[in-house]
């Protein structure tokens, strides 16, 4: 028999009715938000290339849909129930609240499962997490966006943002390079970005096939084509580490300050909340202090590149 005089009473966490409002962590009742996902229906799957597809998701609950807001450059944790979670950068426009678009390469077990999914399937997202591109600070300046391969995925959100607020920005250039022409993603939007958004868009391919009529070479050779007002330019660079390193080194030589160049780092987050330590770069969390970093910080991060 337990002596009730010495039995410790269970302490409950304060649990007010489950709320989706932006988390107020002084109230422990809001804690639940971080581990429960927003249920989403896959509304469309667009094949982009042999290895990449665009998944369009719609948050099922209308109230939750309204609450889900993000900034360009942020990522979310995509949960495929039964398979696991993977960090994915958000590829859609921040102003477009009806759908979330994710450009996904089949790489690990979660994305492989997603590739098995059909439109109508239910998945979940947690987030958004992480830092974003400083779109406001870039206003009244030139913006230079540079992407390599799948690096266009996190760049779509800032591109859409610029389109939404085109008057606030001066010259906007977008340089996009891919290994092969068939790996060039979102080519169907290029015309729109050029003519409607007035973005100086230039593409280049490393290994051209017979159909490719554009420029051939490394992405850095596109710099010869454009004039950069280095005093007034902000740069966003996304791509594999080798690519952004060479691009940023180049931009540095041209005279763009390192704290005006932004890159997005990729690591395999397991929690997205600065707890699991899987995405550490040096002593910095990619999920909290990143994924968007200015290049000065990246240069000072141990083991970043």
């Amino acid at each position: 028999m337990h002596d009730l005089r010495f039995t410790i009473p269970a302490e409950e966490l304060n649990r007010e009715p489950f709320t989706r409002a932006s988390p107020d962590f002084s109230k422990k009742s809001a804690l639940m938000v971080t581990d429960r996902g927003y249920k989403c229906r896959i509304t469309n799957i667009v094949p982009l290339s042999e290895h990449e597809r665009l998944f369009q998701l719609r948050i099922v609950d209308p109230r939750e849909r309204e609450l889900f807001a993000f900034r360009p450059g942020q990522f979310l944790m995509l949960e495929v129930p039964g398979y696991g979670e993977a960090p994915i950068s958000i590829s859609s426009a921040t102003s477009h609240r009806e759908f979330i678009e994710l450009c996904i390469r089949k790489a690990g077990h979660v994305t492989s499962a997603l590739y098995e999914a059909r439109p109508g399937a239910f998945v979940a997202v947690r987030g958004p997490f992480g830092t974003s591109f400083p779109m406001e600070a870039m206003q009244e300046h030139d913006v230079l966006l540079i992407a390599g391969g799948l690096g266009i995925a996190p760049l779509r959100a800032p591109l859409f943002w610029i389109n939404d607020h085109r008057d606030h920005y001066r010259n906007v250039s977008f340089l996009y390079g891919a290994k092969e022409a068939s790996q060039m993603l979102f080519a169907y939007q290029f015309e729109e970005w050029k003519t409607v958004s007035h973005i100086d868009l230039r593409t280049i391919v490393e290994k051209p096939d017979e159909k490719w009529t554009g420029r051939t070479g490394m992405i850095t050779s596109l710099f010869e084509e454009i004039t950069i007002d280095t005093k007034n330019t902000w740069a966003i660079v996304c791509g594999p580490p080798v690519m952004f390193k060479s691009v940023c080194t180049h931009l540095d030589k041209l005279g763009i300050p390192m704290n005006r160049m932004f890159v997005s780092l990729e690591r395999r987050m397991h929690c997205g909340m600065g707890k699991c330590c899987r995405c550490m770069v040096g002593s910095t969390f990619t999920c909290l202090d990143g994924p968007v970093f200015d290049y000065w910080s990246v240069m000072n991060l141990k083991e970043a590149i």
Binding site: V80, P81, G82, Y83, H109, S112, A113, E116, A117, R118, P119, G120, A121, F122
Partner: protein, 255 residues
């Protein structure tokens, strides 16, 4: 589970044994608490321990045992030709297993010791099945862990990739709060053997003999140094490493 838009299909499965104790196959019928659910995932086409069906149209062939006779090679190749997925099932199939003990001795001596003067057709060495056929997946263990088998079968049924732990047994052993067997003066292969068994042997105070083979990228040099530093017998260590034949590349490399 069909929320992604596809239904899980029953896996047409066949189980085949070669030179072995059939203990791994028996594991399939073990773990009663989830046995009905487990069997519900399977369409058993050929499996003499739990079914009288003898069909040869299985998609997944679980192959148990090592190869010790030339006629086994032919049978194995026939299974491979018919199966979509061939799984090396258990330590014998994965590494040669305990049967490979005979590899250290002259063939004639082995036959004489075991069978006397009887004429026996046997190969000089016991082989792992990947010496003859391509293996799609390996499930090591002596015997295999039923939990792991269930997990892998569920993975195949849900079209999920299959992965074994890359780290060594120590991780699981420490989580079970076992006393390190080195501290008790024994040579344990836990630090270099692949986990996934939930450290079942060390938890029973029996040293790990590495039935699941080496973990990924093990530090063999440091391990041998450790055995020496603790004043333990390197001869004993080599015997243990040879027990299931999973560490041949390290033993051979050492010369």
């Amino acid at each position: 589970m069909n929320h992604l838009g596809f239904d899980t299909e029953k896996l047409k499965i066949g189980s085949f044994d070669f030179t072995c104790c059939e203990g791994c196959q028996l594991q399939l019928a073990n773990h009663e608490s989830t046995l009905p659910e487990f069997l519900a995932l399977l369409d058993i086409r050929n499996f003499r321990e739990i079914s009288s069906e003898r069909l040869d149209d299985s998609d997944i062939a679980l192959v148990e045992g090592s190869i010790t006779r030339s006629d086994e090679v032919e049978r194995l190749k026939a299974i491979r030709a018919q199966a979509k997925v061939l799984v090396a099932y258990g330590t014998c199939a994965c590494f040669g297993g305990m049967n490979a003990q005979k590899n250290k001795f002259p063939k004639e001596e082995c036959i004489r010791t075991v069978y006397g003067d009887k004429q026996i057709d046997t190969m000089p060495e016991a082989h792992k099945i990947s010496d003859f056929v391509q293996v799609d997946y390996s499930i090591p263990g002596c015997p295999v862990s039923k939990e792991e088998v269930e997990r892998i079968v569920v993975s195949i049924a849900t079209r999920s990739p299959i992965a074994l732990p890359k780290y060594p047994v120590c991780v699981e052993c420490k989580q079970r709060l076992n006393t390190c067997l080195f501290d008790l003066g024994e040579v344990c292969l836990g630090p270099i053997s692949r986990a996934g068994c939930d450290a079942v042997c060390p938890s029973g105070k029996t040293v790990c003999l590495g039935c699941r083979g080496p973990a990924d990228d093990i530090n063999y040099a440091s391990f041998t140094e450790l055995v020496r530093d603790k004043g333990l017998s390197t001869e004993e260590m080599r015997e243990k490493l040879a027990f299931y034949n999973g560490f041949t590349e390290y033993l051979n490399h050492e010369g």
